[in-house]
Symmetry: D3
Subunit: 224 residues, 6 copies
Amino acid sequence: MARNIIVINPNSTTRVTAGIDAAVDALRIPGGPGIECVTLQAGPPGVESQRDADAVIQPLVDYVHARDNEADAFVIACYSDPGLHSAREASAHPVFGIAECGLMAALTRGERFGVLSILAKSVPRHLRYVRALGIDSRLAADLPIGLGIAELGDDARVMECMIAVGERLRDEHLADVLVMGCAGMARFRDRLEDAVGLPVIEPTQAAVTMALGAVCLGQRGRAH
Amino acid sequence: MARNIIVINPNSTTRVTAGIDAAVDALRIPGGPGIECVTLQAGPPGVESQRDADAVIQPLVDYVHARDNEADAFVIACYSDPGLHSAREASAHPVFGIAECGLMAALTRGERFGVLSILAKSVPRHLRYVRALGIDSRLAADLPIGLGIAELGDDARVMECMIAVGERLRDEHLADVLVMGCAGMARFRDRLEDAVGLPVIEPTQAAVTMALGAVCLGQRGRAH
Amino acid sequence: MARNIIVINPNSTTRVTAGIDAAVDALRIPGGPGIECVTLQAGPPGVESQRDADAVIQPLVDYVHARDNEADAFVIACYSDPGLHSAREASAHPVFGIAECGLMAALTRGERFGVLSILAKSVPRHLRYVRALGIDSRLAADLPIGLGIAELGDDARVMECMIAVGERLRDEHLADVLVMGCAGMARFRDRLEDAVGLPVIEPTQAAVTMALGAVCLGQRGRAH
Amino acid sequence: MARNIIVINPNSTTRVTAGIDAAVDALRIPGGPGIECVTLQAGPPGVESQRDADAVIQPLVDYVHARDNEADAFVIACYSDPGLHSAREASAHPVFGIAECGLMAALTRGERFGVLSILAKSVPRHLRYVRALGIDSRLAADLPIGLGIAELGDDARVMECMIAVGERLRDEHLADVLVMGCAGMARFRDRLEDAVGLPVIEPTQAAVTMALGAVCLGQRGRAH
Amino acid sequence: MARNIIVINPNSTTRVTAGIDAAVDALRIPGGPGIECVTLQAGPPGVESQRDADAVIQPLVDYVHARDNEADAFVIACYSDPGLHSAREASAHPVFGIAECGLMAALTRGERFGVLSILAKSVPRHLRYVRALGIDSRLAADLPIGLGIAELGDDARVMECMIAVGERLRDEHLADVLVMGCAGMARFRDRLEDAVGLPVIEPTQAAVTMALGAVCLGQRGRAH
Amino acid sequence: MARNIIVINPNSTTRVTAGIDAAVDALRIPGGPGIECVTLQAGPPGVESQRDADAVIQPLVDYVHARDNEADAFVIACYSDPGLHSAREASAHPVFGIAECGLMAALTRGERFGVLSILAKSVPRHLRYVRALGIDSRLAADLPIGLGIAELGDDARVMECMIAVGERLRDEHLADVLVMGCAGMARFRDRLEDAVGLPVIEPTQAAVTMALGAVCLGQRGRAH
């Protein structure tokens, strides 16, 4: 009877899932749909390459299929939107990808969006996806924050780099809205927005918002 | 203290406002933001031309400005998104347009969107806007339902025409998601979706969903 | 009997109208259409925001409608093309916007156009419009000249900044034709062209040229 | 001392030149630039293929170069704009192509342009050019009138076919402005506009209008 | 020592592999690279959905990785290009997808390409890919041949439907080059080309051609 | 009986033809088509302007037509693809342009292509062509190497500049594949690829690869 949104972190790092859980907490409304954040055990520690992204599809789709009766909507919480179209084929409910939703939400808040990526090697993958979505004319730029793996554990350093990249996106590339290009950046959102002075879209929040509406409105998916 | 979304119908026809109010009722969650639907008294009976759309901007922006302290987000409930950017300049809170939100929501539900318009003469205005949003590569087509003013009062006739146009959008133009190109079509949404077998986006619902998320997440606007 | 083009400066600053009048003087041909430049008294001193642009629409359209019998064509002399489509609905004669005409004229003179804007905050508005026109693939960049209001009165300073921005558009963004993104820049055109070595389009001149042809050829508008 | 626009018909059919001359007569203003229409003797009887279009470039550019001292602007009056960029390199004055100018003028009169071509085999060449101009998002369609060479001499038949194609462009492809895709169609313009009820751009008129403005304003070309 | 191209049919139907083998036989040059066509045992009988396409990625990438020392280039012979980017990450040699290569080859043979698909439900997937490649402005249409699974075994019936769809792509959608949207259509290529009178690209032939050049020229891949 | 590809260098500099001949030598496969590289005696020493490019069309098309019985495919080995469509009209065999083929090949090797041009003044011509091909969304940038004519004879200096520009294309413009924008750069390909670490497409090699496949597969041209 109770309505439920399942948010799947397709990497196996539970710390990331905890961050996602905190990020969407404000969208848990008394009387509204539940929001359950889960970790895909079979996933890699992180999605850094196309191989990583492709490798999570099978377990992710299996997970969606297995729990389709328990959910009213699914959110895939990885900025590569791995398996999004497969998951839609596997579910009778709406399935949202955080990149797709984060980017569409950004288009309602600004004229040109800038994306902050963790790794330089993700940028071509992101660009390909932005073009597949048909919205590349509104992309300001997608820039990596330029930190090595070791440095990613140092929050102060990450924040500093994000702000520097956010300023470059704003000043050199004329972005007027920013999108965090990773599900694990949520805790920096407020400070980044304050520092750069532009709206910052945290993509999991954007996708859960879409899911919230879909569930309240009783929208169906398109299982075949 | 209580959070509030104000949905403005910029035409003066209260029957349309009542329809909008019913359409968004499912998004009123007990512990969530209030959703107040209002009629812009100074608006024309309907927005049928660019002149109509432009004529409502001034009173609409004045309204937003006057009630900015009472709202956490605004929704402009006319598919021409009249005054959207002006209203954003006039408010410290996020302002959403139903065309912009309806179209972006459609892009998360299908590959090619078809729009159902009331009047043929609105189509060029809609096309111009779709291109301004930078998403014309995903437009299947925007087709008028082809009814005269007199016939618009006959719901059975309207439904019949909508289904016929929805089928053309699906079969001839290969749309796989439909957007209702008018704030006053909400009561036909469910039946259209059932008849045509594609997701149908009611744009006010899409915009209020976006507003709901923005309010819960405490997002700010960009008043200058 | 005599043919007449009415050029409307939608801001109330008569000095700007005088500049426009001088800019189009070379297009006053003995035996050709008259060119009357008028100031919209109800307009703001300048159009700097979307609110300003939207606020002039109503009086502008009223003006066009009131004088439709006295004109064979109208030109709206503000680079935001405020009310262009509304004015077309209100007139039986062709109505030209200076941004639209300036940009189209630029496309016949170079491969990539650069725009010089007065204010940074106008840039997103301009970009939205360029995309709505469907010509964003030919935009090199739109850059503000970066002067505060106080400095705009200092012509030598303005000229210097325009040349610096024109050189950046040429050298960093590979523009090979420039468009002045404001109706009030005409007096700098010749010197800018000489300094930068690229064709510089003054948009009111471009629009009056279009109007001149339309009037000579007896073209009609599309009043509904 | 007197200013002069030279309009070059790059095919050798003097009847076409006479038609062009009549089409631009309304743009001869007593105190304005002279408009001289000439036939390129070395051209083929008509430009029907890419080979035809390419074959006229050399004599056309030679002609421009030879008469550069006698002209203030040139117009190349063939809808393939043959040699346009070469001619610009060969002249110190602005050189306009009728396709480029006709299409840009159309963009100031409607939202989606339809092109009427003589021959089906010209359509791919036209499409390639529209895309090279970066304005394909505004093309409704380019349709041949579908007459064999023999039938082109029968004006009543040509008019009938043009109207039928104009109606298809309007009704099936949603064009709201038409462009004549050939320099030799001018005599049908008025009747086509009346029959179809949309603005019809005759491209040589559009190009001579641009040239008129350029000459009055003293604009220079870009000879290297 | 001998150079070798491995062509992988990612579905498990050996009859399809045999057809591919025959299709590329003309590219086996005595002194040139060997061309080995293999069946991915772990694949499904056919790739009909996104789930099918995604399901083959893992075994496909494993296969590429396992045989990377035995190949100088790989071709993935499924029109969905499953796992293309992952396979590139897994190999030190160039990896070609037949959709990507077939589409790029088509762009060197015609102005607008039409695609013949087996199933209607593949069309949105194809459109998304065409847009991700950034070449949607040259797509005429992608149409299914409209046969049920049972009828696909009847070659005469398939040929008849392909010709009918090819003619529609040519006549209604103005395609001037066709691409076969499936690796299993090769045996119909010659007859389709003769019947429709347009170049027909068989995508595996296109990809093996690219691979042939890459191997002869000693090009490397980009394994990370 | 023996199959033959004729590669035409449309400039008259035999040293360039010799470089082309060396560049395609790896594509001469025992048992495969012959590859004959010829110099167009009537061409200019180099193609540097649009006038140069247009001037070679007539002799080039005559050459193709004269030797059409001796060839199974033609390659036009100049990065402006002069006369490509005319040559196709003049031949019963496939005709390939090196810019078209080089760019399409690049799209199968990377996400964003960067072009290295000899002269700054060629860049607008290149950009126009990239847009005419409809692939501008994948262009990173086209940058001149910035050497005067005198310096082009100094190979060490050319190499140095190419590497510097290749690095700028990679680092500032995010290109991940490079295309040499001139038929005469082949001898630098390997070293540039090694220095910059990205795939480098030599366009004549790309076009001859396409021709090789077309000849082996018995593809026909489209002479009219």
